[in-house]
Amino acid sequence: MECEDHVTWTKACGTSDIEKGEGFQLDREHPIALFNVDGEYFAIDDTCTHDESSLADGYVDGDVVECAWHFAKFCIKTGEVLSLPATCPVATYAVKVEGDDVFVDLPD
């Protein structure tokens, strides 16, 4: 179980900001990409580990996001790399929904 004491929930967006099959970029110094996979929300690092493209701009197919520049594929749920040219995974972040708001657990 996650210890709530160490969790820093940050409001990312509203649920209506992320359509199914689309990404949403939380623009901050270290940008985060949020996705809606069949009504369930996930957050990963927004910057592709291969080059510097935004994964929120990528193409979503089920729980896979494909980077828009060079088509590295990542699992939205686990951050795992599924295809070259990327070779390193992206970090994942816990997400919770309260009412119409989506919160992400971000490191301080």
Binding site: G58, L84, P85
Partner: protein
């Protein structure tokens, strides 16, 4: 133990090696390349022109996958009967299977003065290092050839403040694409101060030791501290021919699975002349990095005992002045290009139609739209032809409608 050798630590060669392992091949894998650098990505060479090399895989990955790298090693000969590769210093390798991912070499000009110093081509890391030195030395720079490589180098040099002239034999840049795309590239470059001399060829280079002037076929003289020649490539088929593998005018002839006419020899990437379904005029090379990566992945799977045909839509991208051009598919000059109405020289999206089927899409500075629009390639346009060119219809919604049929 089975032994597979891969000649060419290129995108195709490395992705094939990795794919062999991910498909359970447990024999020995040796990757050989004359280039001494750990396998690196070529696209950034013309997009950054600095000395940093971006590795195709992290340094530890090859050891982790038990893939042996033999770098800075030349294959001098091959004995097809005993399947032996002869390497440097009387070293040799007995192999059971061989993948040729030897790629292409930059075509050089043969006009007088072509061997003067500072007349460069750009293909590998050592070429890029030389170019980086020359860009630091300052202009003027003359680029011969207004294809993707030539335009990328011209843009880089302009961004660094050099005086740049591009000489192109055709009437516009990017001759093989629709006129509107070439003219937009021309406008973008001219806005940033790149000069173009179109419809002219190089008669000779002049200089004492190093190039000083480029003389064109109409007698025009252009001062040059550096020349970069980007006029196409030649396939590296020497090894294939030494083995007796069939080559055609384009490269090493392979089937859809990357198999040559010699049972133990395969080819992948730029050097392969492949029967891709989108090459409607017949087999040929597809010289795109993304294709090399995916072709290698398919052929590696085949070599590991999982025959995999390569049929994915070809993709190419090019970075110029901070804008990314992307294209999916292989448009022909006879295809009709339909542009979205919000197109400008700095941002556009277009679709090529052939017999009412979307055969290719392209965009400039529109990665999100291109990523969605690529799903239309090979789909009939049906009743949506007018909607493609209608700015009032939201693109992603249209694409979703069309892909649902």
């Amino acid at each position: 133990m089975q032994h597979s050798a891969i000649v060419g630590a290129s995108a195709a060669g490395v992705s094939a090696a990795i794919a062999m392992r991910s498909h359970g091949y447990d024999g020995r894998i040796t990757v050989i390349d004359r280039d001494p650098h750990p396998p690196y990505e070529r696209p950034p060479l013309s997009k950054l022109a600095d000395r940093t090399l971006r590795p195709i895989a992290p340094p530890g990955r090859f050891a982790e996958l038990d893939i042996e790298l033999r770098l800075g090693i030349e294959v001098h000969g091959v004995d097809p009967v005993s399947r032996t590769l002869h390497l440097d210093a009387s070293d040799s390798l007995r192999v059971d299977a061989l993948l040729l991912s030897t790629g292409v070499a930059a075509r050089r000009l043969t006009v007088p003065g072509s061997s003067l110093s500072h007349v460069l081509v750009l293909r590998d890391a050592s070429d890029a290092a030389l170019l980086a030195d020359r860009l630091s030395a300052g202009g003027p720079l003359v680029v011969v050839g207004a294809g993707f490589i030539g335009l990328e180098i011209a843009a880089l040099a302009r961004e660094r403040g050099l005086d740049v002239t591009v000489v192109e034999v055709g009437a516009r840049p990017l001759q093989n694409l629709d006129e509107r795309i070439g003219l937009r590239a021309l406008e973008l470059h001219q806005d940033r101060g790149v000069r173009f001399v179109l419809g002219r060829t190089v008669e000779r280079f002049e200089g004492v030791g190093a190039v000083e002037e480029v003389v064109l076929d109409d007698g025009t003289r252009i001062p040059a501290a550096t020349v970069v020649v980007g006029v196409g490539v030649e396939p590296r088929t020497e090894l294939a021919r030494a083995i007796g593998v069939r080559t055609d005018g384009q490269g090493i002839a392979v089937d859809a699975y990357g198999r040559t006419d010699v049972s133990w020899v395969y080819a992948a990437g730029d050097v392969a002349s492949q029967p891709h379904p989108q090459l409607v005029a017949g087999p040929g090379r597809i010289e795109h990095w993304d294709v090399a990566l995916k072709h290698g992945t398919a052929v590696g799977a085949t070599m590991a005992g999982h025959p995999t045909a390569f049929t994915e839509t070809p993709y190419v991208w090019s970075d110029q002045f901070g804008l990314t051009f992307q294209m999916f598919g292989r448009p022909r000059t006879t295809d009709e290009l339909v542009m979205r109405p919000d197109s400008t020289s700095k941002s556009y999206l277009g679709f090529w139609l052939r017999d009412e089927v979307v055969v290719a899409v392209c965009g400039l500075d529109r990665p999100r739209d291109v990523g969605a629009a690529r799903r239309l390639v090979q789909l009939p346009v049906g009743a949506h032809r007018d909607a493609l060119a209608d700015g009032g219809i939201e693109l992603r919604a249209l694409i979703k409608t069309m892909t649902r049929g």
